[in-house]
Amino acid sequence: MPQVIELVVDGKRARVEAEPSTPLLYVLRNDVGALAPRFGCGLAQCGACTVHLDGVAIRSCATPVSAAANAKVTTLAGLAPAPGTLHAVQQAFIDEQAAQCGYCINGWIMTAAALLESNPRATDDEIRRGLSGLKCRCGTHMSILRAVKLAAKRMAAGSRT
């Protein structure tokens, strides 16, 4: 039976009515209007649907909406520390021109941001390992790697934007 579920998405409250088992991704996209997480596989294999749930990067296509009730959901559109600013990882992706079609970019930025928040001094090898498993079909890995390393350098120096 559909239930009313309260969510907090990018700092805004939303009440949605859905089956508790509905993948969080569909609720975010179709009920909340949060379009930055994307459907890539529905199988938690690619990362295009990544959001932060209380600061932890999760695959929203394989997470039931009930798991997000009363938790803080952050999407790429709400990642920046303040309106009009960008997260350090976002800025680095612009600086390194790290995207082609951009469909996967949500997964890389959200995963890298969570990784660097927990380990701002991540080594190159830790960065590669932390991003392993994410998919990019266009093949923009080189620029993504450069961008995340750049963000790591800036964040290690204390910058969040």
Partner: protein
């Protein structure tokens, strides 16, 4: 501000539309191409099915390409689409340059059959070649028209006028000035585009040829870029398709009266089955749960690749083509002191776009609007009109960004499915494919089996080259959707004929062997049309396969004739631009000259290999460096060096990104990719069963040398060429490292381990 402007500015990130409170829920509001927006309501008004649109936008009229609004902002229209490689930024640069307006003042309309000139769409790396040249002509004509108007207004000859930031002024007296907005803002030009309007001297370029940051990247990293999968149309339903469980299976029965949560309708036409629901997750569930009984057909495929390649080698060809015939190859081979022969094989590969295709269709009142993410909206309009039995002019196809498509991915099939379903239910319908629909059911890059032979003289000179390819045509599923039978929907509904084309498979090298023969046999594969193994063009159609054969064989001949691989190429290549890229790549890579594999010592072996390829008029050489664990066969490409000549470069920083991504995608295909199948079905249906390159495997460095980049020379295609030599370069590097020659793609560690053990 028009809706389109709003959409474009949204895409460019300059005026993001944020969440709006509406009806108690947060909804996002954005305008799609072709919309008109009522500013008060801030609700997009979408084009409506049943309207009449121009059946053709006249390419000879300047107004078809260029519009200057009352505020002086410029809108340029083009019949190409942005497939994610940054072409929109390049187009914007070209228009800004010719018109002398700031790049921020230019917005771009792409690929809407009702508002942009039919340039077919994007493909064959022709975006820059065709799209940019058309826009350049239009913008140059526009500038001339504006200068003529300014000349009248200011009473000064046009030659005395200059333009800066969209303002025309008198060179000798800058206070005498008039803006584009004042001259024509909001009005039509009403002039024709001449054949060769006077364009700017390329030596004066300040925007074109410069590394302008891509306009689409900020909105992409902010999560504000909008794809077709983000489009919401009022009253829209969600649908999912149900594909046959086995190739050629027919529907026996469908539970059309099923009671499932949210189910609005089961759509069934022949073997076409879809479910339509109120909510998306309901459609996903209904497609899983709906009871459909299918026939058990005879096996349509083969147990595996050994049997497939054997079938290609023994089949009677449907068509045979010859190319580059020189001298007498048979006699030369008979006379040769030695004959070198090798067989190569290249598999089915999937586009496997990052997102499964999505399309939204509204079909009613005798017309249709379809939003999709495919590359060729204009032919697709014809194919959909055929499928829907509507006149072309009643069908409007609107391109919106999709995930990168790399050829004929699943986008056109999805558009057809959405259209057929929307026609059946009489309401707008959104279809997004599931992962399996994208990986197991997209049209595949075709498999090819090659036989190469060469005649070598007693003094180690190659004097005969014999190339034979046997493969399925990469246009079995045609390279555009001109008829309903080209789509899966048409195939499953039945009664629609596909437009099957035979596409021969030739390499494009310029080796000057005195006797040469290239033969391409196309094997009939028409029965694949309703299956997941139908073949179509995938990035650089047949290029990776044919180059894998010819450039691996060139390497084998270098070894057989006791030459270094670079030395061999420089000796036999004839085209100066080909020679230049080979030299440049070798130099930049720090190529170590030697004959035969590197001497091995220790468990880790290192090697380097080169391959080169022309593509149309662009040409590329790639050096791959590898590290191999000789016990396990595991290997990694540690560095690529690419020398690249695509003529005049519109945007150097974006060219770099394009080349890097092509090399990485090429490496993924060379190292990992082969669509798995058994006798009855495609077994690759997700990222586990169709793995692609992982971040752990990407090289440490990619070094790029650009050649031929001279202002005033023609800009050539860069979207595909650097993909072409990757498999051969890696195979050649693995041979250098280990002495093992891999002749079948993908180049797996298992195959390498077997070779090392042999």
């Amino acid at each position: 501000m028009s809706a389109f402007d709003d959409f474009v500015t949204t895409q460019r990130g300059t005026s993001r539309r944020d969440f709006l409170k509406a009806g108690g829920a947060l909804v996002v509001s954005f305008a799609a191409p072709g919309c008109a927006v009522t500013e008060a309501a801030r609700e997009p008004v979408l084009p409506v099915a049943g309207s009449v649109w121009p059946s053709k936008i006249d390419p000879n009229l300047l107004d078809s390409w260029l519009r200057i609004a009352a505020d002086g902002s410029v809108t340029a229209s083009v019949g190409k689409i942005e497939a994610g490689m940054g072409i929109g930024t390049a187009f914007t640069q070209v228009v800004a340059e010719e018109l002398d307006v700031p790049i921020e003042r230019v917005t771009l309309v792409m690929g809407d059959t009702a508002t942009t000139v039919d340039q077919r769409g994007t493909g064959s790396s022709n975006g820059i070649m065709d799209g940019a040249s058309a826009l350049k002509r239009a913008a140059a004509e526009g500038r001339a028209a504006l200068l003529a108007l300014a000349s009248q207004r200011l009473g000064v000859a046009a030659a005395e006028l200059r333009v800066r930031d969209g303002v025309v002024y008198v060179a000798a007296n800058e206070s005498k000035r008039v803006s584009y907005a004042e001259l024509i803002g909001g009005r039509m030009f009403d002039v024709k585009v001449s054949e060769k309007p006077a364009a700017k001297d390329p030596a004066q370029y300040t925007v074109v040829g410069k590394p302008v940051p891509r306009l689409d990247i900020p909105p992409k990293v902010e999560g504000a870029y909008r794809y077709v999968s983000d489009l919401k149309v009022p009253g829209m339903l969600h649908a999912r398709v149900i594909r046959p469980p086995e190739a050629q299976a027919q529907v026996v029965s469908v539970d059309e009266g099923a009671k499932l949560p949210g189910l609005v309708r089961v759509v069934r036409r022949g073997n076409f089955v879809a479910v339509v629901c109120e909510r998306e997750e309901q459609a996903v569930e209904a497609a899983r749960k709906l009871s459909v009984e299918w026939s058990r057909p005879a096996p349509a495929f083969w147990p595996g690749y050994d049997e497939l390649y054997a079938a290609l080698r023994s089949a009677k060809p449907k068509a045979t083509k010859e190319e580059g015939m020189k001298g007498d190859v048979d006699a030369s081979i008979r006379m040769a002191a030695r004959v070198v022969e090798a067989r190569y094989e290249y598999p089915f590969q999937s586009h496997s776009s990052m997102g499964p295709a999505c399309a939204v269709a509204d079909v009613r009142d005798g017309g249709a609007v379809v939003w999709f993410g495919g590359q060729k909206p204009y032919p697709t309009r014809k194919g959909l009109a055929d499928l829907l039995k509507l006149p072309d002019e009643k069908v409007r196809v609107v391109w919106m960004p999709g995930p990168g498509s790399y050829g004929m991915n699943d986008a056109d099939d999805c558009a057809a499915d959405a259209a057929v379903i929307a026609q059946a239910v009489g309401r707008p319908v959104r279809v997004q494919y599931m992962r399996a629909d994208a990986t197991a059911w997209d049209p595949k890059g075709p498999p090819v089996a090659f036989r190469m032979r060469a005649g070598v003289s007693s003094d180690d000179r190659v004097f005969a080259w014999d190339y034979e390819a046997r493969g399925f045509s990469g246009r079995t599923r045609n390279n555009s959707t001109d008829v309903g039978g080209d789509t899966l929907a048409g195939q499953f509904i039945g009664g629609f004929k596909p437009k099957i084309t035979d596409q021969p498979q030739f390499p494009s090298e310029s080796y000057g062997f005195p006797n040469a023969r290239k033969v391409s046999h196309t094997i009939d594969w028409s029965r694949s049309m309703p299956t997941g193994l139908r073949t179509a063009h995938l990035r650089d159609p047949d290029g990776m396969a044919t180059c894998f054969a010819s450039e691996s064989f060139a390497d084998e001949l270098a070894f057989a004739t006791k030459m270094d691989p670079v030395e061999f190429r420089l000796r036999y290549l004839t085209d100066p631009r080909d020679i230049a890229v080979v030299k440049a790549a070798a130099k930049e890579a720090g190529w170590e000259t030697r004959v035969g594999p590197r001497a091995r010592g220790g468990r880790i072996a290192k090697g380097r290999g080169i391959a080169y390829a022309p593509r149309n008029r662009s040409v590329v050489a790639v050096v791959a460096e590898v590290e191999v664990d000789t016990q396990t066969g595991e290997y990694r490409v540690t560095r690529f060096t690419c020398a690249h000549d695509c003529g005049f470069v519109v945007n150097p920083s974006n060219l770099r990104g394009t080349i890097e991504a092509n090399l990485i995608q090429g490496l993924s295909r060379a190292r990992h990719e082969a669509v798995r199948f058994d006798e009855r079905r495609v077994l690759s249906n997700d990222w586990l069963s169709y793995p692609i390159l992982d971040m752990m495997e990407v090289p440490d460095a990619i070094d790029i040398v650009i050649l031929g980049n001279k202002p005033g020379t023609r800009s050539l295609g860069a979207g595909e060429p650097s993909t072409r030599p990757v498999a051969a370069a890696v195979a050649n590097a693995l041979f250098d490292a280990t002495g093992v020659r891999l002749r079948r793609c993908p180049l797996t560690p298992e195959a390498l381990r077997k070779g090392l053990a042999a």
